[in-house]
Amino acid sequence: MTLLLTHSQTEGGGSVLAAHLLLEQQVGAVVGSARCDRSGARWAGCSCTLVASDVDFCQTHTGALEDESEPHLVPNTAAQWQTAASVTTGSLFLEGDEDEDTCTIAQADIAAAVDLAASAKRFELQLDRFGPYRLSYTRNGRHLLLGGRRGHVAALDWHTKSLMCEINVMETVTDLTWLHTETMFAVAQRKWLYIYDNQGVELNCLKRFHAVQRMEFLPYHFLLATASETGFLQYLDISVGKEVGTICTKAGRLAAMAQNPSNAVIHLGHSSGTVTLWSPSAKAPLVRMLCHRGAVRAVAVDTSGSYMATSGLDHKLHVYDLRAYRRLHSLLLPCGAGLLDFSQRGLLGAACQEVVQVYKDVSVCPSQKPYVCHALPSPSHSLRFCPFEDVLGVGHGQGFASLLVPGAGEPNFDALENNPFRSRKQRQEWEVKAFLEKIPSELISLDPRQLGQVDTVSLEQQHKERAERLGYDPEAKEPFSPRRRLKGRDSASRRLKRRKEVAAEEQRALIRKSLAAKAEAQPAPSKAGAPAACRSALDRFQK
């Protein structure tokens, strides 16, 4: 009840979540199983198994792997273990029985099959008073931020379900996101952008960031990228509080935004069916892709940064390869996906109105049927996979749902990078180190390895200028002049011949090399050529 008291000063429904969480905690403690949503229990009775194909799984996973009732799935011998381990590493996916699709398995069944700690991660929060909710997870997946459109903002440690703060900003909340740690978060309100700390105290009001629609935080650059209603893409360096870049995209309202985690490029979806890629240092988009015939509704980029999923008003979901800018697959969803998100292990979550679908292996070959499917009580408003957890958080019109998606999160975390179990001291030290390793915003480009490359353009320029200044090229190789032979074979023509022989030697070596490489690349034609060689030219006259 303490929680209730501390946050009772907030307006109206401020205490809603607190009460809810309290109830959750009690239920979890007493009953020993998390409260399950029974709405999806239509397929109750079908068996559900979790197959472990990895030896060293992490504690953070949804938990107990073996179903005792089906011992044949558990490898008995060492050889079996080995084969199982060699298939994939760290994969733990849902597998149905024969002729049973995994998408028909209800969340309740999954929660029932897993251990208590994991099943506690399946929960729902019914918050129907402050409208559809946006949400954000911290980078280590420990903390959750919820923001209702009607002003309800709540931050909580969702593992322990302890509330950090709960406020009502008394304004429309369009989007919100955690900053680098769980101590600060940014909320885009009706007019301006606000920064709060984890006690709900307003730290900053950024009036230059006007009518922000979507926000993304770039963790390594400490940049908060915001996309506004008026078509402005703005970058705020939160470490120094400076506005790094303001770009007018000239593309109207920006409602779809995603970041590429591998190179910190911002992807924006436009109403003209294009997706544009931005960096703060360029005034024009780095890439403009025509993805849909209608407007783009949602964009998502996977963790490796090589695949992008887009969904449009034409009800299609396209998967693009960002390395070649080519489309790999396209799916036709029943209502079109309004929200997209990639999990750490490459599962693609798509929300079509009140139905949430999760697709597996989208980059390889997407199956016809989703991997996991779940229906919400009301249309979804935001969708995020929780890092390092097999959890998909969905904010909808009547609250928030935390769904179990086996195999979604990365089981192995780097404790020096993102530690879900870090202490306060560790967090503070990490913060200092992260600030020291902050990457300048100018370095955001399509190729993240650009810094490691020599700037050839200015290198050549400098070389040219130096040659001009000196009057000769100091690095030029002086042309070969053949030595005069003392005895014979030293005529002028002979010497010229020798010089020419040497002159083309380098080029010849290159050509030889490339030919050899070609020959290696195509071993098949040489085989085919063998029978042709033993045939003579006269053979064609044979009747």
Binding site: D101, C103, T104, S272, G273, S279, S281, A284, P285, L286, V287, R288, M289, L290, C291, H292, R293, G294, D314, H315, L317, Y325, R326, R327, L328, S330, L331, L332, P334, Q353, E354, V355, C365, P366, Q368, K369, P370, C373, H374, E442, L443, S445, L451, G452, Q453, V454, D455, V457, S458, L459, A528, P531, A532, C534, R535, S536, D539, F541, Q542, K543
Partner: protein, 727 residues
């Protein structure tokens, strides 16, 4: 001059004061005045010309020094004329003459010039001194690691004598031993080594050994060069060259002999013997007598030709000269010697040299042939054998040729056989069923010509299409065809498109519509949004609704337009230098001619191809990120030669996580290591071993190797040795 100038104004003042009395003075006075006036005026004008002082009136006191006639120079000789008369003054006269002939000493250089000269000299000297340091500096700069202080004190074992300095023999036994040691010159206390050992230790340090080795190497090199030169000279075919060489040598020998005779008679005698030997040789040979081909011909010519006669005479003179006994013997002997050759010649009959018929043929020396001739005989069979060998070789060659021809024939026959087999094998005996790999079985029928057409055009097309079409598909939509085929829900469009012509395929590659129009396959989901369910119930097709909604939106055209604009903007622009009306008629309605336009339109080189030229739905920004470029490396650090090398080197992680401990330590080793508490003195010549190098050079100058002395002085030095010295 200064004094005169000072006087002048006084004169002027005087003149001015006397101007009033001009009328009263008589004629004489007027003339004087006039002169004074003129003087004053000239002074006023500022002319510095001085009139020669004239003596106007005679005076008794004429200075003996004033010779008068300022223009005439007094000659010394004129002055001395009276002196020359007396013979006692002659030496003085001579001295004076000498002094007259001597040139005046040059003016010493001005201060600036002397300073400049000194400066230049100082500069060259210091530069020389500093240049010595260049390699040291370079070496230290390139060193991966420097440990300071540079001159590390080597870990020396403290000699026992130092330890035992305070020790003395006390007991009788000790004293006895010491006395023994003293007797045998063994070291007792102070130096623990015997003098011999010491000398041997001192004899050769490493540096000296190195120097010695270098010198030896040099000597060897020089020797080899000398040998090579000698060999080369020996091989020279020019007779003239050798003649000159020989003459030179003989002249030298003679000169030496002359000198020897004067200073060292014994050595001269030895030399004489050598000359004697030459004489004997000359007498043995008929080289300079009239027996040779040339001599005979010249003898014939000598009757008519004076030159030939002279040459003949010369030849004979040479012969005489050579056959003369050089030794300073008695005159009688000389006479004898003078007659000798002819007498000897007469004495030895020709018969001696002729071959004796009845002699034993087995003794080659008795055959009357020279050994060279006798040598030839055994050569004959050898030559024969050589010939036979040659013949054998020829035979062999012929055999080989035959063999080759045979083998050729065989090979050809084999080839024929094989060819026929190759043709028949797969076609008849084995059949195409046996050869599943398509290329050989497919190519066979192309080449074998038969009356019946083996394959028709249709067949060809059928064969080719499965290859060509999938490629196109892959290019267009990679992997898109696969799932559709596997699923089979929708019949793929590509096969139909594939049947069309090539141009159509090419268009398809570029056409944006087709790129976008990849057929999506619908998903089957157990849960469907409520809206869709309603629609399904009501029966309105979603597709229709969407198409209606976006019928007006011409998204693709907009994008294409945008892309075209971007492409245009990125193209380098042509410079138009056409001046209308220049060289032709101009005015309203007149356009410059096409020829002119073509000539004055400078077309830039086409830029690099756009990266998105094969991606119709993508517009890539090709502008360079200047802000990021500021952080990039824009010059190659020293040891790297190209950028790839450098990039690869900085890609290598340095951390201990990715490296072994040893590698990590090596990678992160500091460039400079200093030891705490050690004083780092500035580098000295000793540290850098500069002094020793200097010593070496001086040593070389003082003491040359023997071989060098024996070499002719004009022989050019081998280049690389001189280079070494430069270093």
């Amino acid at each position: 001059m200064a004094a005169v100038e000072e006087e002048d104004p006084c004169g002027r003042e005087l003149a001015l004061s006397e101007e009033d009395e001009v009328e009263e003075v008589d004629q004489e006075g007027a003339a004087k005045k006039h002169r004074q006036l003129v003087d004053a005026l000239t002074a006023l004008v500022g002319g510095k010309r001085r009139r020669a002082v004239e003596r106007t009136e005679a005076s008794a006191q004429i200075s003996e020094f004033d010779v008068g006639g300022g223009g005439d120079k007094v000659q010394l000789s004129e002055l001395l004329q009276p002196v020359s008369a007396s013979p006692a003054l002659r030496p003085i006269q001579k001295q004076l003459k000498k002094a007259q002939q001597k040139k005046a000493t040059e003016i010493p250089l001005s201060k600036e010039e002397t300073e400049r000269v000194v400066r230049e000299a100082a500069y060259t000297q210091t530069a020389e001194a500093l240049n010595k340091w260049d390699p040291v500096v370079k070496k230290n700069r390139r060193a991966e690691q420097l440990v300071f202080p540079l001159q590390q004190e080597s870990m020396t074992i403290v000699p026992i004598e130092e330890v035992m300095s305070g020790w003395q023999a006390r007991t009788p036994l000790e004293q006895e031993i010491f006395s023994l040691l003293h007797k045998t010159q063994q070291p007792v206390k102070d130096p623990l080594l015997t003098p011999q050992e010491k000398i041997s230790l001192k004899a050769m340090s490493l540096e000296e050994a190195k120097l010695r080795r270098m010198e030896l190497q040099r000597a060897r090199a020089l020797q080899s060069y000398y040998e090579a030169k000698a060999r080369r000279e020996r091989k020279v075919k020019s007779k003239k060259f050798h003649k000159m060489l020989r003459k030179g040598k003989s002249r030298k020998v003679l000169q030496e002999f002359e000198t020897l005779r004067k200073c060292n008679p014994e050595a001269a005698l030895e030399q004489l013997e050598k000359i004697e030997k030459a004489r004997i040789e000359e007498r043995m040979s008929l080289k300079h007598q009239n027996k040779g081909r040339w001599a005979k011909s010249t003898v014939i010519m000598a009757k008519y030709d004076l030159q030939a006669r002279q040459a003949m005479q010369e030849q004979l003179a040479r012969n005489k000269e050579l056959t003369q006994k050089v030794c300073p013997a008695s005159e009688s002997e000389e006479e004898e010697a003078g007659d000798n050759p002819e007498a000897e010649k007469d004495l030895v009959p020709d018969v001696v040299n002729e071959r004796h018929i009845g002699m034993d043929s087995s003794n080659p020396w008795m055959l009357g042939r020279t050994p060279a001739e006798s040598k030839e005989e055994p050569n004959v069979p050898a030559e024969d054998s050589g010939e036979s060998e040659g013949e054998g070789e020829e035979l062999l060659m012929a055999n080989e040729k035959d063999l080759l021809q045979e083998s050729d024939g065989q090979w050809q026959s084999l080839k024929h056989q094989r060819g026929s087999a190759g043709l028949q094998g797969p076609s008849k005996e084995e059949g195409p069923a046996d050869a599943p790999p398509s290329p050989p079985s497919r190519e066979q029928p192309f080449l074998s010509e038969k009356l019946k057409r083996v394959r028709t055009l249709e067949d060809l097309e059928e064969d080719l299409e499965p290859e060509a079409i999938p490629q196109e598909d892959e290019m267009l939509q990679p992997k898109e065809a696969q799932p559709s085929q596997s699923v089979g829900a929708e019949p793929p469009l590509q096969p139909q498109a594939g049947k069309s012509k090539k141009s159509a395929k090419h268009q398809a590659l570029i056409d944006l519509e087709t790129v976008l129009a990849g057929a999506p396959y619908p998903t089957q989901c157990p849960l469907v949004p409520a809206v869709v369910q309603d629609e399904l119930e009501s029966g309105i097709s979603q597709r229709q609704v969407i198409q209606e909604a976006f019928a007006s939106d011409n998204v693709i055209d907009d994008f294409l337009k945008e892309k075209r604009e971007a492409e245009e903007a990125s193209k380098p622009k042509a410079i138009d230098l056409v001046l209308p009306g220049w060289g032709e008629w101009g005015g309203v309605g007149l356009q410059p001619s096409k020829k002119k336009k073509k000539r004055f339109l400078i077309k830039p080189a086409p830029g690099p191809p756009r990266k998105d030229r094969h991606l119709p739905h993508v517009l890539l920004n090709e502008q360079r990120n200047i802000l990021a470029a500021a952080h990039q490396v824009n010059h190659l650090p020293f040891p790297f030669e190209n950028s790839q090398q450098f990039e690869r080197s900085i890609q290598v992680p340095v951390g201990s996580t990715w490296n072994t401990q040893r590698a990590f330590q090596q990678l992160t080793a500091p460039r400079v290591i200093t030891q705490p508490g050690q004083i780092i003195h500035p580098i000295t010549a000793e540290d850098a071993n500069l002094n020793r190098q200097g010593d070496r050079s001086t040593a070389k100058v003082g003491q040359k190797p023997d071989l060098e002395l024996s070499l002719p002085p004009r022989q050019p030095r081998p280049p690389h040795i001189s280079k070494k010295k430069d270093r």
